[in-house]
Point group: C2
Chain length 203, copies 2
């Protein structure tokens, strides 16, 4: 009576969002294993009951958090690659953007560190598949256009995302992330230029 009642579906979406937000904070700061469900649900003004009702278990909520972050990452990457003038440049920028995103401790901890351990191979996550398949399509197109050498685009996409992922971790864990990031990006660019047909960058 005293509160202006919103529609029920909206209330539900709100509690889901509150749970995801609180869990996201907890996972990012103390890690998945050390995040107490009692603690961060209370922090959201709720209890574990709500969590189990909406997400099944702790892992289910973790999946939702990862999906949210992953979506944000994909959006940023799409923006980056769409700004590029050439496909090759977009391809480069997208991967470099990925490396630089790992400077975000939230991405570092949740997506890169705990994610694979809790959810398994990142390549099998729904959203990661989107990102990798985008990378694969770009590679295939670049091959068609004669920009890069002959290769299996799918396999190469895995290798490249592995290199950038690892570079990201290296950057994030280094003493001087900014400086290391520059070195990593330069080396990554060199590695990618080796894929060009004539060994000359067109940029």
């Amino acid at each position: 009576m005293r509160t202006a009642h919103k529609p029920r579906s909206e209330m539900i979406a709100e509690t889901r969002a509150k749970l995801i937000a609180a869990a996201r904070r907890a996972f990012a700061t103390v890690g998945y294993a050390n995040a107490s469900m009692d603690d961060f649900t209370a922090e959201a003004g709720l209890t574990r009951g709500a969590l189990y009702h909406h997400f099944g278990d702790k892992k289910g909520l973790f999946e939702a958090v990862v999906a949210q972050i992953d979506t944000e990452m994909c959006e940023r990457l799409n923006k980056i690659s769409s700004r590029a003038k050439t496909r090759w440049q977009g391809f480069l920028d997208e991967n470099i953007g990925y490396v630089e995103m790992a400077l975000d401790p939230e991405i570092q901890r949740i997506v890169l560190r705990d994610g694979p351990a809790v959810l398994g191979d990142p390549a099998l996550w729904p959203n990661a598949n989107n990102c990798i398949s985008s990378l694969t399509r770009n590679l295939a197109a670049l091959k068609e256009e004669g920009v890069v050498r002959d290769m299996d685009p799918d396999a190469m996409a895995r290798l490249i995302s592995g290199a950038s992922l690892y570079a990201a971790q290296w950057v994030a864990n280094s003493d001087d992330p900014a400086a290391t990031s520059i070195k990593a990006v330069k080396a990554f660019r060199a590695l990618m230029e080796g894929l060009l047909v004539d060994g000359k960058a067109d940029a």
Copy 2:
């Protein structure tokens, strides 16, 4: 009285080995988080008391297990690269050997999946540093000899080990690991050949 007494230091080494072996089996099969200390210490004919005495905590024992596996991996890799005729070939073989090792579920689960989540960035593990620095030295030498293009060997070593690590995970999680392994190795070889000065492999 009834048992022939071995020297005490030997008994201690034995219990340590038994704990590591039992933990290694448990970590490999059910993963770090689901491995019950009560269970696998009992399986070794001991209790958690011995574990805490020797390794401090669960993570300490996990470190010992990882170190053991890591040492074995390094030995295998060194053998591989020492058999090669040229430095470049050894460099290739060593990395390809790394990819193929990931077919071992023990390595897959303990070193590649749970390891980074529990112990952090693999590049900071003592033994992994040995492996990476070996890779770095090889790259630096190859650059000196004019075999590969100009680059920062340290940064490039990270990227390459990332690519091979990720390829390894891809192989291990695929439906047909043997077939995927072939594709991964081929793509990896192509990626590496891009580093050569003239774009021609000398093998």
